[in-house]
């Protein structure tokens, strides 16, 4: 039985604890690189998913829908309705006697419900103080990145109808 190890050889503890620091650094870096590359793959898949959604989207069909009678909305008043589906809240505004405008009520920032600020004649989002123009739904101030989608209206006699939606360009 050997009692002493010859000089110049690795110490005994290295046999017992056989982890090499330099090797370990390599492994951790390699694994981290692998993780980053998989994340990169995830980003690419995300882009492909958007591409697929863009290619396979159908032409949106907007039904005609009765909103209310024109006289139901007072000047400076609003009427809430849902269009094109029951999940899409919209707001109809009558800023003056002859004008009716309607927009999606979802703020384009984080989907909070916008309301009509009559005294300032604009649509306001209470969450992050995003303001939208009443004329065309464009962003006046705040974090929203896009204008509000506009509901196309048609007046037939006394009846107001929603006939479509217009997604507007960024301003």
């Amino acid at each position: 039985m050997k009692l002493f190890r010859p000089a110049g050889k690795e110490p005994l503890w290295k046999d017992e604890f056989s982890i090499n620091r330099a090797d370990e650094q390599y492994v951790s870096r390699r694994q981290f690189t692998k993780f980053l590359v998989l994340t990169s793959l995830g980003m690419f898949v995300g882009n492909v998913w958007i591409l697929a959604r863009s290619w396979f989207r159908g032409t949106p069909v907007y039904p005609e829908k009765n909103i209310c009678r024109a006289t139901d909305v007072p000047v400076g008043g609003v009427w809430l309705f849902r269009y094109p589906t029951e999940k899409d809240a919209c707001i109809l505004i009558r800023p003056d006697e002859e004008t009716y405008v309607a927009y999606s009520q979802k703020c384009t920032h984080l989907s909070c419900a916008v309301y009509y600020a009559r005294e300032k004649n604009r649509l306001e989002c209470p969450c992050h103080e995003g303001y939208f123009s009443i004329k065309n739904g464009s962003v006046l101030q705040g974090p929203p990145p896009r204008p509000l989608p506009r509901v196309l209206l048609e007046r037939r006699g006394e009846q107001l109808l929603a006939v479509g939606m217009a997604v507007q360009e960024e301003t």
Binding site: R29, R30, T33, T39, E169
Partner: protein, 86 residues
Amino acid sequence: MEPRNKPIQKRGLTAIDGALALIVILLIVQMWLLTATLESYLAGHHEVVLPAAIISGTLFLICAGLYLFVRRIDTEARSERKDKVD
């Protein structure tokens, strides 16, 4: 010259660190690209979606190439060390 005298493992680590830094930069660009594409898509600008997917794919391929480079360096450094030990 110091770099030549550096042990192979140390030089390999430097190369791997360089590749890693490059991958991180490319990943940040890819993240920005994804968010910008989603934003444009939701805004109704569908024309940007295809170029963005192509660029994202290219960035991924570069990242994958760098990963293969890291693996190769790793394997070489390991085999060198093994030879030394043997």
